[in-house]
Subunit: 214 residues, 2 copies
Amino acid sequence: MNKTKKIEDKDLSTEEKIKGAAKKLFTHNGYSATRTRDIAKEAGINLALLNYYFRSKKKLFEIVMKENVYLFFGALIENMNNNPRPFEKQLDFLVGRYIDLLLENPDLPLFILNILQSGKFPQEDKDDPLLRNIQHMRGYFLKNIQDALEKGKAKNLHPFHVVTNLMGLIIFPFIASPMMMARSGNISRKEFERLMIERKELIPEWIKAVIKLK
Amino acid sequence: MNKTKKIEDKDLSTEEKIKGAAKKLFTHNGYSATRTRDIAKEAGINLALLNYYFRSKKKLFEIVMKENVYLFFGALIENMNNNPRPFEKQLDFLVGRYIDLLLENPDLPLFILNILQSGKFPQEDKDDPLLRNIQHMRGYFLKNIQDALEKGKAKNLHPFHVVTNLMGLIIFPFIASPMMMARSGNISRKEFERLMIERKELIPEWIKAVIKLK
DNA sequence: AAATTAATTAATCATATGATTAAAACATAA
DNA sequence: TTATGTTTTAATCATATGATTAATTAATTT
């Protein structure tokens, strides 16, 4: 049984421990600031096992990155594609689904934005169903927004602004949270989470105001 | 003449070249992903000069970081403190000033958010006028928002939401720009800049809608 | 049980990387 | 010009870090 085969086997405790530790550290600190020795220590395993199971730091990172990209974009796609709904329902669902996701994975956005900036983001891979789906979803959602803009009183507004505002209103609090939750920020972790849940209702209202739907 | 003294001397061409290169690379790639050799190469100087002028990578980073923090927060403070204006004017000014700043320094926000997350952000230093001013400004601006919320029809809205939305609407496009400007994003650099200038007018309107001032 | 394969470990390697040194080049002053 | 201080360079150091190896232990198969 060769190593390649082994890597494909699931629920191998050691392998999962390594990947879990890697995910935690890579997601929080990024690629360069994470030492393989830190991952090994976090996972409670011998350093050599990291290379035994994953060959290299780079390969391990790519696996973690891909999982994070899937987590981040997969949430959108899953419902966008399958359940066509009226725009307002779609908006509610999207915001709710996303805020839940980020409450569970608060480090995710900064990780994604960093790999986007660094150029590490997986290239357009025609074989990868996710990356194709992101494209698909983009077009679909954009069309919905354009329709909504037609109905609203902000016909001249570039859809870019709507998409950016929607993403920003959802995501930004999470990447700015270290600021808000610092001593000087006066917001506790619990309070922050409460406010994020409030935003599930508020953001769709604000976006409708941007589109001037109501 | 000792090294410490030398470091305080200004407009030494070599020193400036190093700091400039360091600023560029640290701001774009962060601390860990930046090699001192890359800085030396970028500056076109011998590696040893980096340590000769700045002692260590860490010290050089701290200087760059402090300058970036000043650039990022200084823009706010300068006007906030000195020119009390009606909230709406203040809003216009702040948004305009900030978007101009970020058009000139598009890597700044991600840099700041990363050092906030990493805990490298300069600690509350009672001697540092900037850090004291940030606090001052926070209180001042927050009070303005609370007053505006009283006047508007969104009295129950937590000021957190207003501050977060304002920051997010301004800053988020810049950290998400690699996504928008990727092949799949369909937005060119020129178009992006045009849209950011549009936002100078739009964001204050959106914020007023959030507060339900109009 | 014996043989075979897989997983784990301690030790070590090779290179990258931040930092230092000693000497050379350059500038300035006497 | 010589002397003195400053800046720059090439070479080198010390450690960090990713990776490998050879041996050991554990598990699985025959």
